[in-house]
Every structure is written in C-alpha cells, then in structure tokens.
C-alpha cells in the first residue's frame, strides 16, 4: 500500500489534501470565514437572483444552477407529514434521470429512451395527461449509448418544450398542443454519437452537446436558433482554433492553455479528429457577463500512452460568449486524462465573500475528487479541495492550476493497478448538487468508489477481437464500506458541514428549499428529506424503484407546495438492473457492476413519477 493511500485513510472524514502544495497564488488562505450562525443566511449570493414564481422551467431551476427553491411551505418542522399527492407511470422501465418541469400549471416529464414527453394537467384531480409526444428515435441509438439510455431533462422556453433524443435530434414541441414545431438532427448515431444531456436556452439560442467520447467522436457544443432550430454555430473541443472558436477574446488564466491550435498540437498526428471531448452534462449562464459555462468529456478513444500531451480541449471547463460562442477561458481539470474523469458535472455560479468583497465564482464538485472554486471572469482556480479519498493524484498544484498526477496509479497494458480512487465515474458524476444561500452549503450527492485495473478479458467489437485491461469498482476502503454519500459542503469554510452515509452510490440529483429541507433519492428507492442545516433525516418514502432522477418543487394551482421526483433505477450505476446485466461479470458496465452486485436484490426496474404534498 502506497503512502498516498495511507494519507487518505488518515484523513478519513476530514477529506484532507486541501489544495496542497499551495505554492501558487495564495488566494486559498484569503477565503474569509463568515460566522455561520444556525439561523442566519450565509454571506453567499446567487447571481442574477430573481423572485421565485413557484415554477420549475429548466432542470437546474436557475441559470446559476443552484436547484434552490424559495418555496418554504414545506419546512423542516412539517416535512414529516409529507404524503403522496399523485403518481404517474411513465411506461418506460429504463433509468429515469430527468427533472420534472412545471410551467403554467402543467408538468412536463421526459422518459429515458424512447424519450416520451408527457404533459400533465395540474389543474385537474390526479393530474391527467394533456398530451404525449413520442419522438420515435431510432432503436439503433441504444447500441451507441455508453451508460444506459438515459435522458437528463427537457427545458421550457418561448412556449416550447425543448427535447433531446437519444438518436441525436433536438425537437421543439409546442407546450400547449404537444405538436412538434421544429426538429434538428444535431448528432449522428452512425458515428457513435448519442445525446443524453438536457439542453439549455439563453435568449434565442438552444445549446446542445453530444455524448459518445468512448467511440471516437469529435466533441462539440452546438447552438441552435430557438425559433426555427437552425444551427447558429458549432464550437468543437479538438482541432484548430478556428473550429474551437478560439480567437482574440480567449484569455486563459494558466500558461498551459495559451498558444495557437493547441487542440491539434496536444495530440499525436491527427488523433484529434476522433479525440472525444463530448458534452453530456450541464451548462450554466451568467447574464451579467453574458458567458455560458460547461465542461468537456474525456479524450478518446486512444489508450493514454498513444496520446501523449494534454489532449486539449477535453476534460476541462469552457467559458464562452453566450451569443457568439467565442471561447473566453478554459480550465483543464484532468489534463491527459487516464481514468475517464469527464469534466461534465454541474457548475454552480455564486458570488462569495473573499477578502472582504464578493467574488464572482463558479463551484464545481469535479469528477477527479476536487471541489473547485474558480473565478468565473478569469478562470483562475481559487481553491481545489478533496471532497473524498483521492489516490489518482497526490495533491493539487494551484500555481499550475492542475492536479498532481500519481505515477503509481498510471494504468498500462498488462499492468495491474489497484485502488485507483476515485473510480471511473469519479467522486461525483452527472448527478447535480444543490446550493442554499440560507446555509451556504452545497448539497452533493455522490459515490465513494475505487477501482482496480486488473482484469484481462477477451472482447469482440465489430468482428475485431482484443484482450484488454478492465476495471473493477468497489466501495472506497477508506470510507468503511459504504458506496455513497449525501454531503453538505460548507463553501466558505471549505470543509464538510455534515454527511449522510449511504450504502449504494447516491445517483440522484439534489434539491434544497427555503424551508431548509434538502431532498435526494437512493438507488434502493428511498426518497429522503433531511434538515438542510444538520443533515438530520426528517422524512422518507419508499418508491417503487431506485431513484436516479432530479427532484424538483413547485407551487400548484391550489397554492400548495409540491415535491416531484422520478423513480426508475438505471444509469451507469444502475445498469445492472435497468439493462439486466450479469452480476457475475465484474467488468460489465465498465466495471460498475462489480460495485453494485447486490442492487438487483434491493430494487427492480421501474418508471414512475411521484408527487408529494402536505395534507
């Protein structure tokens, strides 16, 4: 066992390795600790904060991606009385990752493949369906989806529901009638591209990514015209600057990101043409800076030794002009990624007190295990703290703005590498966190898994046999055997406020409200409400299938507050149940099956909307 592992065992709950060595700009130490008395609001401000109309029009709730609701009818004192108001069967039994939206007293729900959209009339008892939209995606799309056939949600804008389908179409559906207004083919399944992310709409643009970095795609973000679906621009994540939309406005903070055509030069030969770097996660928007922020997925499909270099612009965070797509800065979170640490997680935009003034930052609980606080104007990393046990890196170099690789964990052909932490899904994957300005805490649903790269297995793709190293994931040994955690992270004090241990990975999104209640679901199917200040369990309800969806809350036509969530286990973590994978095949779902072998004993497939309210 290496010294690194011992270090992490020792740090245990303290989640050590706080950005050391912090030889660089010592902004680290300047984060001012604010007295955070139990009932006072935190000193953190949500930018562009607006009155809460009681609706939920996009998965992340606001452009800052806080998933925070100002509704407070349901609070820590009364949440224990929460009960089911109505349910709705989705008719699809694969992993349900989407967020139920509520607009104009109508709830909009999108399912995993085949991507049905239901509009439910909240003004009528039992919320019957007003219409159902069936986009009929190509069945072959299931064969290119890497990690279950999920959909991460639809968005409402301009009277339309904007939907991404697994086979790569973006579709605008009239929110009143359920008729399609326009359809645009954005990605191509014949090239291994799929589409699972939720689009974001800013002004008259719809931003759409692409999934499939495992298949040799060329990642990009596409902006469509909200009115007619026409492609306005494409920003690629590999290749020459002109394709990446890098020009005179590009001012990355770190020298390693500066230079001409790095999207070509940081790859051998023309490997950049199939270099991956998709967008399967989240996009945030700052109206005052007019910048969008999003992350790029892993490089591919080379084994890492065959692609020396940083492999730009994969596995990092872009800031771009919302109108033109021009790149403004880039931060590389996992340069020359070895472990599938896609940089696709959510980016929570906050204004936080540093050195006596509010600083515009974005907070990113990153797949690689570090919680980044980044100046969202400049791309400077202000702090990067481990929020779980990390062995793949030995620390964080703030001066260079990147984690310090651990050569002992470098995978290679025929080489057995044990205890790589976090495992390939990272310390946290797509499942979005929530932030409450009342507590100053970021509520992070995540997993605590490590992996061994050890199995040598024959495989066969398109008539081509090969033997490869395969990953086997398991509970992080540093954490006493539990595989997931719901963590409240104190942003200002840069430490965990509290955490709730969960047996299985916490693969659902989080929701937090002004009633000081945080909600999340477990893969066993428990939907939980906890005290946002203390983490105390206040209420729970056992749903019909494991929960990997994003809970939302809204004010109904009757003036009451409701909480909605989809149950339906699946996703990468739940593929063993949703995809019927073989529990004996430890490398199935890229090694995830080994970590959740017991899941089939704990839940079964499903697809159900649950909506809760007080009596």
């Amino acid at each position: 066992m290496s010294a690194i592992v011992i270090l992490c065992v020792a740090c245990g709950k303290e989640h050590g390795m706080k950005g050391e060595p912090s030889s660089g700009p010592t902004v680290n130490a300047k984060l001012v600790s604010i007295a955070n008395a139990a009932t006072l609001p935190s000193a953190i401000v949500i930018p562009n904060d607006q009155a809460d109309d009681g609706q939920w029009t996009r998965p992340a709730k606001d452009y800052a991606s806080t998933r925070y609701s100002k509704l407070a009818q349901i609070n820590a004192a009364n949440v224990g009385a929460l009960r089911v108001a109505f349910t709705f069967s989705l008719g699809v039994n694969r992993g349900q990752e989407a967020a139920p939206l509520v607009v104009n007293n109508t709830m909009y729900v999108v399912t995993s493949y085949p991507n049905f959209v239901y509009a439910l009339d909240l003004t009528k008892p039992g919320a019957p369906a007003k219409w159902t939209f069936k986009p009929a995606p190509m069945a072959a799309a299931q064969g290119v989806a890497c990690c279950d056939v999920v959909n991460r949600g639809v968005v409402f804008a301009d009277g339309k529901i904007i939907l991404n389908t697994l086979d790569g179409e973006t579709i605008a559906v009239d929110a009143n009638t359920g008729k399609s207004v326009w359809r645009t083919q954005v990605t191509n399944i014949n090239l291994g591209e799929s589409l699972t992310m939720a689009p974001l709409v800013v002004k008259n643009k719809v931003y759409v990514g692409v999934s499939g970095s495992e298949f040799g795609i060329r990642g990009r973000l596409t902006a469509l015209n909200l009115s007619n679906g026409a492609v306005v621009w494409r920003a690629f994540h590999t290749g020459p600057d002109s394709d990446v939309l890098i020009g005179s406005r590009f001012k990355p903070y770190y020298p390693a990101e500066r230079g001409t055509d790095l999207g070509v030069k940081t790859w051998p030969g023309d490997a950049w043409k199939i270099g991956g770097g998709g967008v399967c996660g989240w996009i945030s928007y700052d109206p005052s800076l007019n910048l969008i922020y999003y992350g790029t997925a892993n490089p591919g499909p080379w084994n890492a030794d065959q692609r020396p270099g940083d492999n730009k612009w994969t596995a990092g965070i872009f800031a771009r002009d919302a109108d033109t797509g021009e790149a403004v800065w880039f931060v590389s979170t996992s340069p020359h990624d070895l472990f599938d640490y896609d940089s696709v997680n959510e980016l929570v935009l906050l204004d936080i007190p540093i050195g006596g003034q509010l600083r515009k930052v974005l907070v990113r609980p990153e797949r690689n295990g570090f919680l980044y606080v980044i100046d969202r104007q400049t791309g400077q990393i202000l702090s990067a703290d481990a929020f779980g046990p990390i062995t793949s890196y030995t620390g964080f170099d703030l001066k260079a703005g990147r984690p310090i690789p651990n050569p002992a964990k470098h995978p290679g052909t025929g080489k057995i590498v044990r205890e790589i932490c976090p495992a390939a899904p990272g310390m946290k994957d797509w499942q979005p966190s929530a932030f409450s300005p009342r507590t100053g805490f970021l509520y992070i649903p995540h997993q605590l898994l490590c992996m061994d790269e050890e199995n040598v297995e024959a495989n066969y793709i398109a008539g081509t046999p090969y033997v490869g190293m395969t990953a086997k994931m398991y509970a992080a040994p540093q954490e006493g055997g539990y595989r997931g955690e719901f963590l409240a992270w104190d942003i200002v004090n840069r430490r965990p406020a509290w955490q709730i241990e969960e047996d299985l990975p916490v693969w659902s999104g989080a929701l937090v409200t002004a009633g000081d209640v945080a909600f999340y679901g477990t893969m066993e199917g428990w939907f939980k409400a906890v005290d946002a200040r203390s983490g105390k369990l206040l209420w729970q309800f056992k749903c019909g299938s494991g929960i990997i969806g994003q809970p939302t809350t809204y004010r109904g036509p009757d003036g009451k507050q409701y909480v909605a969530v989809l149950a339906g286990v699946g996703g990468w973590a739940g593929a063993i149940v949703a995809g019927g994978l073989d529990a004996r095949d430890s490398s199935a779902a890229l090694g995830f099956v080994n970590a959740v072998k017991d899941l089939p004993d704990k839940t079964t497939k499903g697809g159900i909307l649950y909506v809760f309210a007080l009596p």
Partner: protein
C-alpha cells in the same frame, strides 16, 4: 485475478482445451433450453459487417450459419444488431436469438464452443511498395505511416495500438475507429482502403477482415501475420474463434460442436474462399480433431 488471467491466456494459446474449465455454467440459470426439433436456428448477427455477416447473407458467418442450419435440419432466422457494446446483452442474453457464429473463445459473456479457426492480426501493405515488415520490433515501423484500429473502451484498445505505444511508436500512427461510419458499407474496412489509397504505408488489422478486403482491393495488397504472437506480459495478437451460446445452454452447444466436427472440411472451404488467414494451432497431435 490471476486465475482469470491464466484461463484467458490458455484459451488464447491452446486450441482444443476443454472449454468447461474456462466457463462453468451456473446452476439456476433458466436459459438452458432444449430446443424443439422443429424450432429454427436463431442467429444473432451484425447486418453490416462483411466479411463476417450482413443482412444480405453475404458473409462467411452467414454461410456457416446456413451450413449448420442445413446439417441440423432447421430453418435459419436472424436477429440483427450492430456488434458493438451491448450486442450480446441485447441479442443473445435478451433471448431473441441463440447463437453468435463468431466469438473469441475467451469471451466471458457467452458459453463458447470449441474454436473452428484461429487467425492473427496482420500487417497489410501494398505489393508495389515492397515493404517487408513482420515484427512489431522491426525498426522500419518508426519510419512508416501506420494505421491501426481503435476500440472505444477507456484504457483498452486494439492490440496493435498497445504494442506500438509500448514501443514508443506514436507520432506516425493514424487511428481508425473500428466502428467507422455505420451508414457506410462494412465500416471497419476503411483501414484497408487507406493502405490501397496510400493514406498509410501499413495497416495492422485483424486477419479475416484484412484478408477479405485485400482480395477485393483495386491494387494488390500483401498480408503478413504479426510477430510476436503474444507480446509480453500478455497482449495476444492471435485468437481462437468459436461459436457462442448462452451460459448454461450446454446441450445446444454440444449439438453445435458436433456439427463443427462433422462439417470441418466444409467450414474450412468457406473460410478459405473468404481469404481468412489461418495459422496452425499449437496442440498435441492426439488432440487434433482433423
């Protein structure tokens, strides 16, 4: 696991090893079906991957499937699915078909039959270029433009891609995804076109695919099996190919194996018609079934 490692190694290195040592059927599996005599032979296959199979029945696996169906007096039916990640899960394991005609016998997801051929990765060059390359250790590989195929899995790739990077041969390597563009005919074959067109000097590709497309190339191409056959510590370029059935379907496997034995000569004729490069197995003579 060491034991797993060893079992795969044995499967790759010895031909007629009893497969029951490698994959043990688990009791309690429900898939052990006794196929009724009038039930069709249900084959899982890729509709667009010559020379192996296509939905027009033009591949050698189509031909072998027809042969087996005839021998067993069964009607032949196909379930078509692109042979990508999820192929086994969505076809064989979903129960919509019962046999995959070609799988490496070390594939853990299925119960394999004994192999019916052994092939190798090959160097593919143009005849007129007179390039003689046989080994990954040939210094000429540092000067040539080399095409290799890439698989998608993180950390895993086609064996030649690993062999080259292990030797530091990187900047002169061009990658072709094995998936290719599925809207085109037989997408993995683009790498062979690339040699013919002079886009690369040498391609390193799986023998059956290379052999078939080389025969149809407008310019004469040359194939040579790669050396070594297994790169240390364990990177094989030679694979035994058999049929794959569901784990637990031992009776069905036995009937397929008897066809493979009975029709060995016919199968060999089909393979040679399609230009599948075969190499002699290392096996004690008394174990040979020929």
């Amino acid at each position: 696991m060491y034991s797993h490692f060893r079992s795969i190694a044995l499967a790759a290195m010895t031909l007629w090893l009893a497969q029951s040592d490698v994959v043990t059927p688990i009791s309690g599996q429900t898939s052990s079906v006794l196929t009724p005599a009038d039930a069709p032979l249900r084959v899982c296959a890729d509709p667009n991957n010559l020379p192996f199979s296509n939905d027009r029945g033009q591949g050698f696996e189509n031909r072998i499937a027809e042969l087996v169906a005839r021998d067993l007096h069964k009607k032949l039916e196909y379930t078509w699915w692109a042979q990508r990640r999820g192929f086994v899960r969505n076809t064989l394991k979903a129960g919509s078909c019962d046999v995959i005609v070609g799988v490496p016998t070390g594939l853990g997801m299925v119960l394999p039959t004994v192999p019916y051929y052994r092939s190798t990765y090959v160097f593919v060059t143009r005849q007129d270029r007179r390039i003689n390359v046989r080994s990954f250790d040939d210094p000429i590989l540092r000067r040539l433009r080399i095409g290799v195929q890439l698989i998608g899995d993180d950390g895993t790739n086609s064996p030649p891609a690993h062999a080259l990077s292990n030797r530091g041969i990187i900047s002169n390597v061009k990658g072709y995804t094995v998936y290719g563009d599925y809207a085109e005919e037989s997408p993995p074959s683009r790498i062979i076109d690339a040699v013919a067109r002079g886009e690369v000097d040498v391609a390193i590709a799986w023998g059956p695919m290379a052999g078939y497309w080389a025969k149809r190339s407008p310019v004469a191409l040359k194939l040579a099996g790669v050396q070594p056959q297994i790169d240390l510590p364990f990177l094989p370029f030679v694979f035994d190919i058999g049929m794959g059935v569901r784990r637990g379907d031992t009776t069905f496997r036995a009937s397929l194996q008897s066809v493979l034995t009975r029709r060995r000569a016919d199968i060999q004729r089909i393979l040679s018609e399609y230009g599948v490069p075969q190499i002699e197995p290392y096996a004690p003579a008394e174990n040979s079934t020929s």
